[in-house]
Every structure is written in C-alpha cells, then in structure tokens.
C-alpha cells in the first residue's frame, strides 16, 4: 500500500469504492468459477470411486465429495472411509497401498 493511502486509511477515509467493487468481484467470481453442476460432481464422485477402489475397499455409502468455500479459498474435499487395503495390487501402481488413513484430498 502506498504511503498516502496508508495515511488515508489511518485517518479513516473509507476504501475507494472501486476497490470495494474489485474485492467483492474477486470473491464472487471465485465462487462462480468453482461452481460445479450437481451431475458433474456426481460423475466425479463415481470416477474417484472407481480409481480408489483399485487400491482400497471403500465404504461407498459414506463417501463424501464436496466443494468447500471459505474466505479466500475454494477446495474440493473428499472424505473416503476405507474398509480394507487391497493386497492384490500390482507393484507398479503409483500410490503407496500401505496408507490406510482416510484420504483427504
């Protein structure tokens, strides 16, 4: 922040309205851009399930895939309860099959 506007802040001049506009736009666009149609989210969930099931047995009913929005960030959160690690995985798989913690992506 340049010094004059810092001083203005200090003496209580309100934020320039164009900056308010810009900040509000940034936030709303972050939400807009991260909006995923329900059908796409469902398809993503199904495909995740297929991929993960190659390595671990998953509690399909409890699998959750959601978009989480908080001030400033948007994240895809998946909660994948694992019932059992498969032991019949080919050794050239990219992932470490030992890991049995619920994955948080």
């Amino acid at each position: 922040m340049p010094l004059p506007s810092f001083l203005e802040k200090l003496f209580g001049r309100p934020e320039a309205s164009k900056d308010t506009a810009k900040n509000r736009l940034r936030l709303v666009l972050m939400h807009d851009r991260a909006a995923i149609p329900a059908a796409v989210l469902e398809q993503m969930r199904a495909e995740l399930l297929t991929v993960l099931s190659k390595y671990v047995e998953i509690d399909q009913q409890a699998l959750e895939v959601n978009l989480e929005r908080s001030e400033g960030t948007v994240a895809l959160l998946a909660n994948v309860p694992i019932l059992r690690v498969r032991t019949d995985i080919a050794s050239d798989g990219p992932d470490n099959p030992e890991k049995a913690e619920p994955a948080l992506a």
């Binding site: 320039a16 309205s17 164009k18 900056d19 506009a21 810009k22 509000r24 736009l25 940034r26 709303v28 666009l29 807009d32 851009r33």
Partner: protein, 267 residues
Amino acid sequence: MSNGRVIVITSGKGGVGKTTTTANLGMALAAMGEKVALIDADIGLRNLDLILGLENRIVYDIVDVVEGRCKLRQALIKDKRMPNLVLLPAAQTRDKSAVNPDQMRQLIADLQEDGYVYILIDCPAGIEQGFRNATAGATEAIIVTNPEVSAVRDADRIVGLLEAADLRNPRLVVNRLRPHLVKNETMMSVEDVQEILSIPLLGIVPDDEAIINSSNRGEPVILQEGTRAGQAYRNVARRIKGEDVPLMDLEEGGFFSRLRRLFAGAR
C-alpha cells in the same frame, strides 16, 4: 471454408453496448475497404437495424431466409453510406429458437461464399439458446463489458461458456469508461477489469454523449469525426485487422485530447 473472419460480439449482461459496438466495428471495417456482413442474432429484440439507421429498409429477415421464404441476398440490406456493408436483420416477431446452430453455420458459409470477409454477429444478452445459436458459427469472440460489477461478473461467465463452445481466445472491449471517475477511484480502471477477467484487451471506449446522438439518428459514431468514442471504435477495428494501435489518451485534459479537440473544432 474460406479464410474470412467470423466474430461474435457478446457480453452476457444486456445494455453494455453490444449492438453499438457491432454497428461501429462493422462500419469501421467497411470504411477500411473490407467486405462486411453484420448478422443480428438477437431474434425477437431486433435493434441493430435501428442503431445503423436501416430500420425502414427491411423486407425480409434472418428467419425468412432459413425458412426458405426468400434468398439470402434478398434479405441483405446494403448500407448506402458504406457500399461494403450489409446487414442481415433479425426477425422481430419470432423467438430465439427460430434459427438453430446448424442454420446459423449455413448462413455464415453462404455469406462467405458471397465474398464477405468479415462477418460480425450481434449476440443476444443472456446465456441460453440465443447465445448458443449466435456463437455457433463464430471462430472468434469479442466480449463487451462496462467497468461495473454486474457487467464484469457476467463477462467472466461468458468467458467460461465461450471456452466450452471452443471459442478459446476472446478479447475484451471495455465500454463506457469514464476517465474522471477512474481518476478519483470511483470507477474500476481498465487494468482492474483486466486483472479480474485476465483476457487480452482489444480496446477501451469512453462514455461519450455523442453515442446518444448517434443512436437517436441511426448514424454510428464512427461516421462523426472528432468524437472520442468514434476514434476508439476505429482503433478497435484496426486492431481486429491486426494493426498495432496504441491505446488512446482518455484523460479529459490530456495534451493529446486537447490537441485533438483543437483540430476537430469545438463540439
């Protein structure tokens, strides 16, 4: 397929100046000697004819052509001021479903066959079927926005939808910029808008009272020498043709604008 240019002018939000932009860019390109066809794809809310001052010369419209009631050439209105420019008017009493994407592509192919090198499509506001029809045959897109929250938000949505329609490199025209409001930090600057949308800038058109006069009379502002908006549109047209034209000096009291006014005479 010819090597012509098919450019859709779109915005999402209504009232940002799509039709005025289409009219002026079409005329400016024609004035530079290009063969230009303008398509009014805003079926049911026809206005490009009015902005161009051609409303009294409409006999057939785009729906008449696709439904076979006339030949394409019969529906094209030649602009007497600008021999290289024709308008294919929208239908006023039909809705957005009256022309489908395949028909739009066929119309464009036929216009190219007839030698029109620049085809500009005035897209309806919104993101529904009318938008999909208008963008169907286009290979380039220009997004018109105003430095204002709702217009910028809608423009961002349009960027995403154009991408989904395989129109990947839209360029931005920031319309109705008010330099003195930008200067006192009331209005977002072009840099602010660009930072948010992150698409390449094609031009800036200042808010200009001359536009009101020109709409009233049906004489696009590029026909008036010495208007700032007219100059801005001429610059945009030259950039569309690939020329490297610097952004004009929009500062009200700037040296160049004072100089320009001196030469253009008092308005």
